[in-house]
Symmetry: D2
Subunit: 457 residues, 4 copies
């Protein structure tokens, strides 16, 4: 079988396995909408440049519209020679409108066509992912508001560190997602540049108006060098970077929630809707949702790595290696389109147990307060830290919480300790002392919630 | 809908998106054969242990056989609750044989079941990949024999270095693939260890004979710790390592062939069967086969990275994150099952142009011979290298090949040069001088071919 | 030995190997400037908040100034207990000013201190890298201007595709670097956010003015959540993403130049200054500069993946795993601070051979022109492509360049061919036909040069 | 400055930054021992082949011995032109023995020299790492023996699953390390192949006896193709794969231990020797040792990915890109030479709290026993699982442990429950029921310990 698009100079037919290896229709068919949209604009541009007649343009556009209807209705069928979505559409167009279909590709190459299609498609997906990210952020803000008064142990190194508000912990992820949102907007901007009109590599030989194309297709700018335009995959790597980082944030939130949901912590309980059981152990209620979110970070980072490895050392302009950009991209989009709403669902439906948080809090969470107490009495912080360390040793040795150690014992460690020390040792006031911007005091947390609502509005 | 397998303690139903997120049936269905094989052996083991009656075992095995027939005939249909292949098979078995189906899972968990299935499946795929690797190696050996007399420029740093046999170049890849073959055998050995009988994590509470299971299923050994057995994914990482390295070898061979196939080199010409054309440029005949092989290295390395990232920092035994092991594994197997035979096809069908190789050879390829000549006259090599460098400068400045520089000019650089210098400067004899083991002389190349044939036999 | 900073509650001493494993002073000492700058500002802030007296602040600042002088003069010496730069500075400050040094850490933790130091340091490095990137871009623009008239084969798939200007090829990389420049500015902006005042995780309990700190230290904004602030490594991943992509661009440019510098292409010749020879082969002049640039892409991508892997699944706030952020960051900065100027040097000093470019051009580079010719005669492009393919077959079979095929032979393939066909087949006019924005025609290239000069101004 | 080794044909000097970029002496100096050993053997081989006289060989060997003494005494000093260890040694040798030094490189290239040196060096390091791995494994075996009777909750999905022996958990990591040991032996075998005698790429033109070289240097085999020999980096990727997997195992063990060491679990307590404190929070005792082990997984995986990325698509034989193989290799060796003994130290010095393990155990850990109980009464497992799930629901709703639910309540769920049910619900007997090979029963654990001791002997 001679290839319709490029068979002219060939005498031998492709090897059957090679056909399967080479064809991309199995995955790039999802670009159909973008491909039709791009072709419709190009038909108009060819007519405006006088390359085809208005009547020819109408015929082409009508044919494309019919194909769109076929896709919409699930009626579009592939034929044997359809190696990619572009071939499939061109083949079908010829069936529908005859030889004039062959004019649609004047001055256009698959190199600039596929680059345009991918950008158009991704633009739409970014918009959808933006919404998913906002949904996730909203869930966090809502939960932070609902549980404003819950106080829990704050951790560093998975060790109890200082008391914090549960809301403050939640919002710490909120700010990560807020950065992801801003980063996604940058990716969207970088994606929205039109390569169409670059030909195979050296530019379009026709007086096609690229600014008209950009405007028609909603692009913000046109590419400035045809060789760069057909080989530029930066926006895809930008997108994968966004995805890797967002998913890494999700992985940490998942890790925290998995711990908090354990028997040992018990701070939250996942709803049945986001848990699954065991085929062997009847009591199990496993946080599979969160584990999958955490685990899928490997998948996304792997796709990112794949793209960079494929691009490394590639010579100038288009090389077929670049066809490998699609599947990691598609799977990344599909994965984030699941992990973000699943995380939102987990947060929206989980039960929060403030009582379990309080029960878990060791008095040693207040050791820093002890040092601060001494500082307030005039001791340099570094010395105060050391003295507080001795109190901690006493507490551990005598198994008494800090608040139960009697004043004489305190005084024997430092004469600066006075009768107000026991009052000072209080989770609520430790939290409320952190009222500088970004701290865990209620006012600061409320300010964060307000800022995030503005951002989401 | 209550889940058949693990729904007992649950009151709420899973979220719909969560179902889609959690289910693995869309990709793990390809384990059906392994799942049926494993269950059949387990039914026998349960009967031998007296946990079920021989009649029950027969019923179960007959049901499994029926399911196998349904898969073989493409008649097996999924039902709404089939979250994975194990659930699907269990559900169907119950439909076919009734409640006794529920006995098949006595003492068995999906944790040890899925680990067993994956090993069984991979064992078969490794065997197929072994054959593909041998095919590729055979193509190299055959081409090396056919073109034994072709001499070409050998390169380092993409610069002409020393003359070599084309066969020697081909065989340099042959030895890489020979190592890949040996490495794959190690992976096969490490894969062939039976986890079945480990339960969910703590072992099987029944007197099931694990050695009988291993023997029946063709495993070489049984796992020695149940907690390790259900979490061990080492063999998958071993396999991905094999795949990354093999594919990296393919990427370098592809790079060489892409260059050799270019207008500028012209040493080989790919057959039409492994080339494709351009939708815009009528003259193009592009080596897409080789570019895709090179490009897919990103995909494989990405999968490898994905698996390591997913496993990193994972707590003990089974976590749902591990469900992410399947898709990278499957895609890696599928990719190598294409790239290896495609490479074999490229080699088997390419045209070799020894005349173009000779035409491309610069006389400077013999500069080392010049130094060796001086060494043969007694000059220390390092000095000889320096003198030869001066001859090279003269050759470049006067645009004369080394063999055309007159003797007086040689003598003015070093008095050791004599009238035999011009005879010494000969590509064929330069090649034949490298007759120590592993060198490019004909005898050494023939010895390599013989060794490789033995290896392939 | 009891640890000065945190030893209070400890009774046992650290294991010696553990000390070596834990300490970061060997690499984080390069943060000394940032650490002193941050501490100086913090001393001021403590005084303004009334936590320390103005006299104490002066003492602290004077001590810090002395330490700065010691570093500047290479006189600063490490002591046995200096586990990191922060400890070293604190230890030295205490030696210089006595116990008041212990007041500097009031309300400040190493968690917010190290985050601040790293951002301060990176801000400076980004500024230096920006200059290197501009230098590289300038080299491209200068070379593009110098060789404006050189025409060469344009390639896709490493196959001759269409004629282009050498300048157009160069500028195709220029635009990639222009995007890198814009991307780096975004990273700079995201880096320039102040975490200081976040304490260990829950915020600063003192009325320290974080906006004053930001202003003093030149930060654009303050972090909005203390738990996020001490764990946020997004800006590092952003930076590594920038580095990976920039280095990937360099790797492709290196690949092209390595090919162009080969005997087979001969389009350029690297200067001796960026080449090295062989210890064995006297004629060798290898493009080591470019190979190292290409090879170091692995290093950068590896650092990027290292950071993502380390962060994956990490629980909330600071974990010691994060100490692993420094070495990949430092090495990435150091590497790009070499690869960018080396690439600029290569471009500035290479010899360009336009004659070799012309000599290398196959007439088949004009096959698309042939199709365009037929389109200009009214044939639909797809048919014209097919007809041109037949001419290509004739050219290959008869070994005649396109321009030497006689008119009757042309006409026998299509009657639309006429006597103007031979005039049409001209490299210069093929290039000049691509005059739409982004094309390879002279006006378009000049417009690109002008745009890039504006960008660099 | 003209380069001593390869400067003959060059007229221009290298750029200063290029020198720094190109030189590898800063890191490859650690190959000095291997370089001297390899050269010593090569001097002997040259003499045996009659290329140099026995006296010359003696002179060379004596000079090399002197250089070795200089290195041993820390007296070796670098000179300005020493671009790598090979140049440095050659330069010094010439200073010591004069021009005869120039004969040592006859027929040898840096390409086969560096490949030989690296294999020699790595062989030694692998041997040291093997010992570290054994130390780690021994620590596990010893701890498993010591705490044989400790029973703890076994986890899947970080949820309590079934009771297990603490020893069984420890040994689950032991088996992973045992596989790492076997894998390392394979890497050692693949490393121990001699490339020396391959020249730059095409083989050695002299009658040097490569088998003599292999025997003298302790290599098991010689490389079989010179082009492959100088470009083969498989053994390095094999080693990095070993390191990635071993470090991933360490990361999971670290994760488990970090959790077990937390306030919430409290199963173990790290010794002060492997913990560090906080500069702000006086009570903190952080498991920095384990966090660094976990975090350094990123570093190792990053090095692995770096190597694969560098190798991807590299053309045939030696390219300078390959110089990038050293630093990731060296750092990987250095890292594992820390993480393995640190982990051994952590295990050897930690305090184990069996009482805290028992206190943490939920009665629901016995839910599977309940199902097994019903199976023992004749109910199919799947039904028994469902019934046990109902008992779990009852237990949760009434907040009664399984063993406190009265018999009538049991019977109301299934009539098969009888008075022996309460006896059945016992952690010890649940553990002892898993006595099949690989299970958590004492006999099985003792068998594992015995097997591991054999392996370590």
């Amino acid at each position: 079988m001679t290839n319709m698009l490029w068979g002219g100079r060939f005498s031998g037919a492709p090897d059957a396995l090679m056909r399967a290896f080479n064809d991309s229709i199995s995955f790039d068919i999802r670009l159909w909408d973008a491909d039709l949209t791009g072709s419709d604009a190009y038909a108009q541009a060819l007519a405006r440049a006088g390359i085809i007649t208005p009547a020819e343009a109408d015929t082409l556009r009508h044919g494309l519209k019919q194909i769109r209807a076929e896709f919409d209705d699930g009626q579009f069928t592939l034929a044997a020679g359809d190696e990619d979505i572009h071939t499939a559409v061109e083949r079908r167009l010829k069936e529908l409108v005859g030889n004039v279909a062959g004019k649609l590709h004047t001055g256009r190459s698959r190199n600039d066509q596929v680059a345009t299609d991918t950008r158009l498609w991704l633009r739409g997906e970014i918009s959808a992912l933006r919404t998913h990210l906002q949904t996730c952020l909203s869930a966090i803000v809502t939960a932070a508001e609902t549980h404003l008064d819950a106080i829990m142990p704050g951790y560093t190194h998975v060790q109890q560190a200082q008391p914090i508000r549960f809301s403050h912990w939640l919002l710490s992820y909120g700010w990560k997602f807020a950065r992801d949102l801003a980063r996604l907007d940058d990716v969207a901007r970088r994606t929205n540049v039109l390569p169409l009109g670059s030909g195979a590599l050296s530019g379009n030989p026709l007086p096609v108006d690229r600014h008209f194309l950009a405007e028609t297709l909603g692009f913000d700018a046109i590419s400035e060098n045809s060789m760069d335009a057909v080989s530029d995959r930066d926006y895809l790597v930008d997108f994968l970077h966004w995805a890797s980082l967002t998913q890494t944030h999700l992985s940490s939130l998942a890790e925290d929630l998995i711990l908090f949901n354990s028997t040992e912590y018990g701070f939250i309980e996942l709803s049945d809707a986001y848990s699954t059981g065991s085929s062997l152990m009847p009591q199990k209620k496993n946080p599979d949702s969160l584990e999958l979110i955490r685990g899928k970070t490997g998948r996304i980072v792997g796709h990112h790595m794949a793209m960079l490895t494929t691009l490394k050392g590639l010579p100038s302009t288009y090389n077929k290696d670049m066809q490998e950009d699609k599947e990691p991209l598609f799977d990344t989009v599909d994965t984030l389109a699941m992990t973000l709403p699943i995380m939102a669902g987990v947060i929206n439906t989980m039960t929060v147990h403030p009582d379990r948080m309080v029960a878990a809090m060791s008095s040693l969470l207040l050791a820093t307060e002890l040092a601060d107490y001494l500082v307030s009495k005039g001791m340099p912080f570094r010395d105060a830290h050391d003295v507080a360390g001795q109190v901690v040793q006493l507490s551990l040795a005598t198994e008494q919480p800090l608040w139960s150690i009697p004043l004489p014992a305190y005084k024997s460690i430092s004469p600066l300790f006075d009768r107000d020390v026991h009052d000072w040792l209080n989770f609520e006031s430790a939290v409320e002392r952190r009222r500088s911007p970004g701290g865990t005091a209620k006012d600061s947390v409320l300010a964060q919630i307000a800022a995030m609502k503005t951002l989401l509005a």
